[in-house]
Every structure is written in C-alpha cells, then in structure tokens.
Symmetry: C2
Subunit: 153 residues, 2 copies
DNA sequence: AGATCAATATAGCATATGCTATATTTATTT
DNA sequence: AAATAAATATAGCATATGCTATATTGATCT
C-alpha cells in the first residue's frame, strides 16, 4: 500500500530521491568500466605524439602496471576496434580509437584547467583530473568550460 | 646514461611530466578500489537514518545490483571492520564504518553543492557527484568548499 | 652469423565484482 | 500451527584487472 504522501508540485526535493541515486550509482559503475579503455587510448595517443610510437613497455611504465597487464588490455582494445597491432610491433589507434583519444584529451584538459581556475594547485589538479574526467557529464563539462572561460577575463 | 637536459628552475611544465601522470593513474586506480566500500557504507548509513535498518534487499535495490552481490560485499566489509551483522538480520555500521560514512557523506555533499553552485542542474549534479566524490583530493575539496561558500553571498 | 639484450606473448594465479539458481531461515498470513 | 511469502545464504559461473614466471621473437652488437 502506498503511503499517502503530500504532493509538492514545486521544489521537489530530489536530494534524496532513491530512484535518482540508483541511477547515479549505475552511471558511476558504468563509467568505471570505460575508464581504463579511455586511459589507454589517451596514453597511446600521447606516446605516439611524443615519440612516434607506443610500445607496451612504455605504456606499462606510464600506467605503473606490469607489461602482461598491458598486453591483455591491448588485445581487448583490438577487439573493441580502438587499436591495431602487428605482433611484436608497436600499437596504433584506429580511427575510432583516435576519436576517443581526442574526446578524452579534451575532457581531461577541461577538467584540469578548471581545477586550476578555482585555485587547485597544478600538480593536484593533474592528479585529480585523471580520476574526475571519467565522471563528468556533458552538462558538468560545459559548466566547467564556462567557468574557466569567464575566469580568463 | 642521463640526457643532458636544460635545467629550468622556474616554470616547470608539469602538464606532461610522465612521473606525475603515472602517479595520477595509480591514484585513480587506488580510488577505484575504495569507491565501492564507501558507497556501501554511505548507503547503509542513509538507510538506517531513513528507516532504522539496512536490509540487503534495500541496499541491492538502491545500488541497482543483485542481492547476492550485496551479501558478498557485506562479508568483505565485515572483514574490513566497517560493518556488523547477525545472520538473517539487518546490517549495522561499526564505529569506523560510521566515521567513513560521515566522511563520505560530507564529500558527497560538498561536491554536489559545488556543482549546483557553478550552474549544473541538480539532477545532473547528483548523478555526477556520485562518481566524482571518490576522486577529489582534500585540496580540491577545499577549493570546492571555498567556492560554494563565496557563492552564497 | 652468432651471441646477447630487449620487447612481446603466453600461461597460470589471485582478487574483485557482476550474475543466476537454489537452499535456508525468518516473517507473515490464514 | 501450518502454509506461504520474503529475506538471506551459498554455490557456481563469468568477466575484468592486477601479478609473476617464462617462452618466443626482434633488435643490436661483436
């Protein structure tokens, strides 16, 4: 039996709406799943820009992870169509991989610059951005962008 | 052999310092590990406040996850000393669990209110806060707090 | 060319977090 | 009190992401 709750057309206190929170949790879980792929793709793109190639050892060193971990992840990224490789050779991004890398880089930069803009020390901004970037919606990202822009005057 | 790199006492471009990025990745991975525990503890605390008890079915429903998933996680939280249970009964927080819940709630609220303060719609703020809260350092959190405070005048 | 070093591949282990199916226990209803 | 419903426990499967140890291949040096 439903409780007889007062109807409040205005000011719906969604700060604790259970359904919304469930959605929020699911969104966070979902984000966690794609995070790593984005990290890899973004990093591969960086490495290629820096040195023309992305090798497993370099990826592993940058991520702070063992090489076989990278090898397995790369296989998965190939399956997902984000990466190409030739055995015992470097790794490249597919078109869709490059797109994802581009998008990730943008988000990353927007988040990082925003953090700096509100007064977070640059090093910390970089560290936190790495985690935050995967959890900001387009709306939040837009708000970040607006703020950073406004700040620059 | 070390490369003979020019020394630049001023303006160290850390925007791409590899070591820093590695740290950032590791921090993000570390955060991912503790996220779930915090979510659970925070939610359990909420449920107890709302209805005096936290049952597996309710936790599962809120998180959008199956009950056995919750059962296993609770076992782990007991091992970690955050939660107490009696078989076939509800779940309670230990002192240290309550502390963690308290801290998580605070972070969550700070992040959410901050997002609203910079113009993110409340629903989106709630959704994004769920993911972001686990990735903000104390420094960033402080910056958020400062901004939200300042905004309120 | 053969030896050596470096990078990649593969096998196998561990943990974490999802799931479904089902057994057990507690709560509720008749 | 017995039957039914609801909640919890457990077993077993799947996937993801770490790891170490080791085999294989490619690159480099003498």
């Amino acid at each position: 039996m439903k409780k007889n709750v007062a109807i409040r057309p205005q000011e719906p206190d969604l700060s604790n709406d259970p359904a919304l929170r469930t959605e929020a949790f699911q969104q966070a879980r979902e984000a966690r799943r794609s995070e790593l792929a984005e990290d890899y793709v973004e990093l591969i793109d960086d490495l290629i820009r820096e040195g023309g190639e992305a090798r497993q050892v370099d990826i592993a060193a940058r991520l702070g992870v063992a090489q076989p971990t990278v090898a397995r992840m790369l296989r998965k990224l190939v399956e997902e169509g984000l990466v190409q490789r030739k055995a015992y050779r470097g790794v490249f991004l597919t078109d869709s991989g490059r797109e994802l890398a581009q998008a990730s880089r943008e988000r990353h930069e927007i988040v990082e610059q925003f953090l700096v803009a509100i007064g977070v020390p640059p090093e910390t901004a970089q560290r936190d951005a790495e985690g935050i970037e995967h959890h900001v919606s387009e709306e939040t990202l837009a708000a970040f962008r607006r703020f950073t822009e406004a700040q620059r005057r």
